[in-house]
């Protein structure tokens, strides 16, 4: 088994396991409370408005927005870690069909692994610092690494067709 295949298969398995464990702890200890807070704050915002308590309604709506911001990112990071890991494992099985030298394949595999780990991590960190530019930039860098690596892989497969 070549180095690039090892990197993709073992890296993918490790990332999938991490993503699943992260999702499990989130589902067990955080998700239900978050969903309750999200639905409860929206309902509370409307019922406070019905009682003509507009300040409380406004505060509850803001809490809803912030809770949903966090929830969407937590679920997205979990699913992207696992999805990208599955893609890495599948590519690892057939990476020798990518018609480049092993050196280039290793660079591509490393970019895929680094991007797949970094992109969801940057997304999760945004829940601790809403709107932080550095974290948005990290997410962009991570996703760019994944896209560039996959474009190179597609090109490598297409070269086999010639």
């Amino acid at each position: 088994m070549t180095g690039s295949r090892k990197l993709l298969i073992f890296g993918g398995m490790a990332l999938a396991a991490f993503g699943m464990l992260y999702g499990l702890q989130y589902a067990l200890f955080v998700e239900h409370q978050t969903l309750d807070r999200m639905g409860g704050s929206l309902a509370h915002s409307f019922s406070a408005a019905a009682s003509r308590n507009l300040a409380q309604s406004q505060a509850a709506l803001e809490q809803y927005g912030e809770t949903k911001y966090d929830y969407v990112r937590q679920v997205d990071a979990h699913s992207h870690w696992i999805g990208l890991a599955m893609l890495m494992i599948v590519l690892g099985v057939i990476f020798e069909r990518v018609n480049f030298s092993e050196g280039i394949r290793q660079v591509v595999a490393f970019s895929l692994l680094a991007g797949s780990a970094l992109f969801p991590l940057a997304v999760i960190l945004q829940t601790y610092h809403h709107g932080a530019v550095i974290l948005k930039a990290l997410a962009v860098v991570g996703s760019a690494l994944v896209i560039a690596a996959l474009a190179a892989t597609a090109w490598g497969f297409a070269r086999t067709l010639k």
Partner: protein
């Protein structure tokens, strides 16, 4: 356990030699009768096809109606705000929660059934590296497929069973079924990981690897699948960069306007904001659905490229199924995205794309069933001939 030491038989021994007219079981060692690999491939493709079919039925008969009911519940909530009736607000949100649960469990059942199918196909690929006996691997495959079926069934039933007859305060029997099936899948995967660990120590594969056939359908699925995944990534990056934050901001803005209008007793303005909220939810939903569907179809195409050596059909039909599957994989996400501009026309076309993927998938499954049948008949004939030769 019969171990096969590396290196594997050379590629010539697994070269494609079958044709639609003459059955030559060149890949037989990799596809033994009732082996774990067969179960994973049959079960995986069947789960994916069933999940896609369920998704298509859901999209046609439930999705839009459900969105209408969500809008009606929000209108009721804003009217209750205008009337100053907090109890009616709570009733409206309780009803809205019920509607969202109805939708959410159906989407989850669809997603989990397809993902279990993907995992089954992935497990079919890695069986040579799972160092267990044939019998143990088959038992694990049976358990995995059972878990893959029961998990979405349990999720689907959550909305209908509710807490009826449950001894728990917040968890119903359907949730118990779904959680147990999920736990079963996790246990099977952990045991497979142990089998993989044993392989790493011995470095002996337990059965032949998937044959390395170089054919047009296989290359097309591999390249097409990679391009689909790439397109999905590019669309996701575009959505995150240009629309995601704006959509998040607009959601609370629209809700605030809805509440303000209702508080002021302006029910027409509140209803307009409910419509705006629905449009925003639609815009988010179609972008996320297009992104996830094109990537999942790309991954499906890549996984199906591995099972092409077992599809016992003429080259012409194999190409037809591949074209149909790849065509549907492009049509569905593209027309899902166009739903906001073209409405039901695009929705209907997207559903046709989904049907194309299902038909392509079932066509391949039929080819694999034919391969299995031919292989088993050939084996039985050899067994009978041997018995006849041995008879006095």
């Amino acid at each position: 356990m019969p171990a096969i030491t590396r290196p594997l038989p050379d590629s010539a021994s697994v070269a494609p030699t079958k044709s639609a007219r003459g059955f030559a079981p060149a890949f037989a060692p990799a596809f033994e009768q009732m082996s774990a690999r067969r179960l994973y491939i049959f079960g995986g493709i069947a789960l994916i096809a069933a999940g896609l079919l369920f998704g298509d039925i859901f999209a046609v008969f439930i999705l839009h109606q459900n969105a209408g009911r969500q809008g009606a519940a929000l209108v009721a909530a804003s009217r209750a705000v205008a009337a100053g009736n907090a109890a009616a607000v709570n009733d409206a949100f309780s009803h809205l929660g019920d509607i969202l649960e109805d939708r959410g469990t159906k989407v989850d059942a669809h997603v989990h059934m397809i993902d279990a199918g993907y995992l089954a196909l992935l497990l079919a690929l890695v069986q040579p590296y799972i160092a267990f006996s044939r019998r143990t691997k088959k038992s694990l495959a049976v358990l995995f497929i059972a878990g893959g079926v029961l998990l979405p069934v349990g999720i689907f039933l959550i909305h209908y069973v509710g807490l009826a007859g449950s001894p728990f305060a917040a968890i119903g029997w359907a949730s118990v079924l779904a959680d147990s099936a999920g736990a079963l899948l996790i246990v099977v995967l952990i045991v497979q990981a142990r089998g993989f660990w044993k392989y790493l120590r011995s470095r002996q594969i337990s059965e032949p690897e998937v044959p390395d056939e170089d054919s047009m359908p296989r290359r097309a699925l591999l390249t097409g699948g990679t391009i689909l995944v790439l397109l999905g990534f590019l669309h996701g990056a575009y959505y995150a960069g240009t629309l995601l934050y704006e959509h998040e901001r607009m959601e609370t803005v629209i809700l605030q306007r809805m509440i303000n209008a209702a508080t002021a007793g302006n029910l027409d303005a509140a209803t307009t904001e409910v419509n705006n909220f629905g449009n925003l939810a639609g815009a988010r939903a179609v972008n996320i659905a297009a992104h996830s569907h094109i990537i999942e179809f790309g991954l499906l195409a890549m996984l199906l490229s591995f099972v092409q050596p077992f599809v016992f059909l003429s080259e012409k039909w194999k190409r037809r199924w591949v074209k149909l599957l790849l065509g549907g994989s492009v049509i569905l996400p593209v027309f899902v995205l166009l739903e906001l501009k073209l409405g039901l026309l695009a929705g209907g076309t997207a559903d046709i794309g989904g049907v194309m993927v299902i038909v392509g998938l079932v066509g391949m499954l039929v080819g694999i069933l034919r391969y299995s049948g031919g292989l088993d008949v050939a084996r039985n004939d050899v067994g009978k001939a041997d018995a006849a030769e041995g008879a006095p």
